[in-house]
């Protein structure tokens, strides 16, 4: 029942919105992770291209996974390790339970392993009377309070020092000051006997290396070193997707994890462990090493044409550090056991579609997780697929359906203007619109223009003898129905450059279909637009669009939706953002414009622009005409998420505005007269959030 799902989400979001200090600490943690990551990547010799190397390694290794598993197993067994292939969590648990019972195990020390959380191994062991103790500090904290990880890398980031001191006071009976250093001394004393006396040491593994049967375990605290060396029995639980081919592959992963997670060059301790080493002389019995290789849905995921990309995840948590809505609600709401953006397809793969669907609507389709992912995983498209599959069981709420009809609504709005505009400004109508459809009544919606772009375009007098360039103008909704004067201004700029501009039949980008998960409709729109655009592309036309999301669709989403079809690829290659094109062809002709004197502008880059020009072209274009303009950003989204922020309630405007807060603050501090952005939806959010004037770059010159 989808209603219960939304009730839960809305309740939890409302709680998160009320807990500002907790949100702030999560935001700080995420921001620090993002900033350090960028700093470290800039210092790397390979720079950002390490992402391509990581992806290549993962794809190559996933391709021959069965062979790698076999070779890894053989090499580990040669060294005396017992390898158990567990088809699911229950098989893994049964194996570990049996091993524990055979060896009369009373205590297990454990170092952080998300894979062990995936199968929830602690509970059945505890039910069998075995004490299982997490030794990673963050994991220990949440174990003591009976919670699940809030963040993949920082599981207890939501707990303050005061709370942590209280937790350990309760556990040890000691008076503990709320200073992390003092708490640490207590933790060290508390855990030492546990390390020293545990009968089994249990770890996960970050990497398996087929060529030598070794596993790599990375920790900053060093707990895995103790867990894997002291107890006579070592048990490692590792997902089969972690196995790479060679030592060189492993070194690349060892770099990619910490760089992406925390901006460290290497994790403080990386243990590459093969077989089991002796400890001292005259041992009574051989020390054992058990490796549980977990499938638990992974093989099935590999066969899935969309979700298989999730297997390339290296579990760095970077997508969590950039996800705008995760940054507000945290991993308990935005996750099942696997949190954050990648948690949606992973949950679908190992815990089922239903569980993934429970939180997939928190994704606002900004696409930033793909851009930060060290394995360049198309997380947004997998999430769209999860939403799509989930729709069959759980029909979309009415408001999502309405948002997906944005173009049809704009068409009606434009055709019925000015009546439609009067209605949009009528409180009673907007109240009704909120109550019946779910569009927030306080949002300042852009007005419609009856004299739409098509009408204006057809009416204009222009003939271009021997055009220098041939352009197809792809308008999208805003420049077509709401602000056709902007569309015309763009067209005139292009014509001044000697371009022939055509405006063939077209639909808007259709991105809301992707955002809300109706991928059948999204494909239909993509196919329609490609069919209309392709004949022009074949004749050498370039496609220009003023809307960042439309450029993103044409260049990124359509080829993915249409399985990289040749025509979609050609259309993508022929597409440019407006200012990218204007700058390329007009840079030398730009002159200073007095209009800009004495003003300072702050530029906002829309999320979908980040993998394209990142707004650099528009800023450069304005600067060359004398504008003083600087990029103002937090590294993540303004919170609008296309049409997401127009929706009423916590799972809409509430969450949207909370995401935007840090950016609104940044603009307030930036001391600018106005904001410039190319996105028609970010514009609405910034206008309301900052109270500053917001312009499209072209508007500054109209």
């Amino acid at each position: 029942m989808s209603k219960a799902r939304y009730v839960r989400l809305e309740k939890e979001i409302t709680e998160a919105l009320e807990e500002k200090p907790k949100r702030d600490s999560l935001y700080r943690a995420m921001k620090r992770g993002r900033d350090s990551r960028i700093e470290t990547i800039e210092a790397l010799r390979v720079g950002n291209s390490f992402r391509k190397e990581v992806r290549d390694i993962k794809l190559r290794c996933q391709d021959c996974q069965a062979e790698l598993i076999e070779r890894f197993t053989e090499n580990a067994e040669k060294r005396g390790t017992t390898v158990f292939h567990a088809k699911d969590g229950q098989a893994a648990i049964d194996y570990i339970l049996k091993l524990s019972q055979e060896n009369d195990v009373k205590t297990i020390s454990k170092s952080k392993s998300l894979t062990s959380e995936e199968i929830e191994v602690n509970h059945p062991l505890e039910d069998a009377g075995i004490q299982v103790i997490e030794t990673d500090l963050g994991e220990l904290i949440i174990q003591l309070v009976g919670e699940k990880p809030y963040h993949l890398v920082f599981p207890s980031v939501h707990k303050t020092a005061v709370e942590v001191a209280e937790i350990f006071k309760k556990e040890t009976g000691e008076e503990i000051p709320s200073d992390p250093k003092e708490i640490m001394k207590v933790v060290r004393r508390y855990l030492r006997p546990i390390f020293l006396n545990a009968d089994i040491g249990m770890t996960g593994a970050n990497i398996g290396i087929a060529e030598n049967g070794a596993i790599a375990i990375e920790t900053n605290e060093g707990n895995a070193r103790l867990v894997s060396s002291i107890s006579d029995i070592h048990v490692c639980i590792m997902g089969i997707e972690k196995i790479v081919d060679t030592v060189e592959d492993a070194l690349m992963m060892m770099l990619a994890h910490p760089v992406s997670a925390t901006g460290q060059h290497l994790t403080t301790y990386v243990t590459l462990m093969a077989g089991r080493s002796s400890l001292g002389e005259g041992a009574e019995k051989p020390r054992e090493s058990h490796l549980v290789l977990l499938d638990n849905g992974r093989t099935e995921m590999r066969e899935d044409p969309v979700l298989n990309d999730a297997l390339n995840c290296i579990r760095c948590g970077a997508c969590m550090n950039i996800c705008p809505t995760y940054g507000v609600v945290g991993g308990h709401t935005f996750g099942y056991i696997y949190p954050g953006p990648i948690g949606i397809p992973w949950t679908a793969g190992v815990h089922g579609l239903e569980k993934a669907g429970d939180f997939s609507s928190l994704c606002i389709s900004c696409g930033l997780c793909k851009e930060i992912c060290p394995a360049d995983i198309d997380i947004p498209m997998m999430i769209a697929e999860v939403k799509h599959r989930d729709m069959e069981e759980h029909p979309q709420p009415l408001v999502n359906k309405a948002m997906m009809q944005a173009e049809q609504l704009a068409k009606i709005g434009s055709a019925t203007a000015p009546l439609s505009n009067w209605m949009l400004n009528n409180d009673a109508f907007r109240w009704l619109l909120e109550k019946t459809i779910g569009i927030d009544q306080t949002r300042d919606l852009p007005s419609f223009d009856r004299n739409n772009l098509r009408k204006r375009f057809n009416k204009r007098n222009h003939s271009q003898a021997e055009p220098k360039h041939k352009i197809v103008f792809f308008a999208d909704i805003y420049a077509y129905y709401n602000a056709p004067e902007l569309g015309m201004a763009a067209i005139e700029h292009l014509e001044k450059l000697g371009c022939e501009v055509v405006l063939p039949e077209q639909k808007s980008s259709g991105y809301p279909y992707i955002g809300y998960g109706d991928l059948d409709k999204a494909r239909q729109v993509a196919q329609f637009n490609i069919e209309k655009l392709m004949p022009y592309v074949a004749q050498g036309y370039h496609i220009i669009t003023p809307e960042p999301t439309a450029a993103y669709c044409l260049k990124k989403s359509y080829p993915t939706l249409l399985s990289d079809a040749a025509d979609a690829r050609q259309v993508a290659d022929a597409t440019y953002e407006l200012f990218e094109y204007l700058l390329k062809h007009a840079a030398d002709h730009l002159t200073k414009n007095e209009h800009f004197a004495g003003k300072r502008f702050g530029f906002h880059v829309s999320c979908h622009q980040r993998p394209l020009t990142s707004g650099q072209a528009a800023m450069d274009w304005l600067r060359r005409q004398g504008a003083e303009i600087e990029l103002v950003e937090t590294g993540t989204c303004c919170g609008m998420g296309g049409t997401f922020g127009l929706k009423a309630g916590p799972l809409g405007i509430g969450l949207s505005q909370a995401v935007g807060e840090p950016l609104f603050d940044a603009f307030a501090k930036a001391n600018v007269n106005a904001i410039v952005t190319e996105s028609s939806v970010c514009r609405i959010q910034l206008l309301e959030g900052t109270k500053l004037a917001v312009y499209h770059p072209l508007e500054l010159l109209i």
């Binding site: 500090l137 301790y269 089991r276």
Partner: protein, 190 residues
């Protein structure tokens, strides 16, 4: 890049990770560096693993009889508990990686790992000509180690003291492993 530059990169990076770097040109200088370090901490027991015999002997002579040394041959019973009683652990790194500020320790016995993990202060000795610039350069050495040791073999990359940011993202050292990490770079022909 000259070896001096590589050593310099290592020093900078290791220090940025809260580690301490010392230089020595001979065995006696290594001992005096160790002496300088332990002068600042009350020490009753020192655990040593993998040191060359002559170095081990002279460390014991120079540091005096008031300190008890836990060293090979290790008695199996209660070894982790015993090493845990040492305030200082001294061991060798087989090589280091300058750009990452990492020491790399090979071991086929877990006592080596315990000596570099359990005591609150760890002193690690590395030959200056064994400092590589990049992580990639480690590949052939790792491959060789795992090929030569057909049974248990562990390679550990250690980049400074044990650290956590799990409480309010505040960097805190020594939660499980060493709180203080020293490296002595031995600049003599091996």
């Amino acid at each position: 890049m000259s070896s001096e530059q590589v050593i310099d990169v290592f020093k900078q990076k290791y220090e940025s990770l809260a580690g301490h770097v010392h230089f020595a040109e001979s065995g006696p200088q290594v001992i005096s560096a160790i002496k300088d370090i332990i002068d600042n901490v009350p020490v009753n027991r020192i655990a040593c693993a993998g040191l060359q015999e002559d170095l081990q002997t002279s460390i014991e002579q120079k540091l005096g009889p008031s300190i008890e040394f836990i060293k090979a041959p290790f008695n199996r019973s209660d070894l982790p508990h015993l090493i845990d009683t040492a305030e200082i652990g001294i061991s060798y790194a087989d090589f280091a990686i300058a750009e990452a500020g990492a020491l790399v320790e090979f071991s086929t016995n877990d006592e080596v790992r315990l000596v570099s993990t359990l005591p609150r202060t760890h002193i690690c000795i590395v030959q200056s000509d064994q400092i590589l610039m990049t992580l990639e350069e480690a590949a052939p050495r790792l491959r060789q180690a795992f090929t030569e040791n057909e049974q248990g073999c562990v390679a550990t990359f250690i980049s400074g003291p044990s650290r956590t940011g799990d409480i309010e993202m505040i960097l805190t050292l020594g939660v499980h492993g060493p709180e203080v990490s020293h490296v002595i770079v031995l600049e003599e022909a091996s």
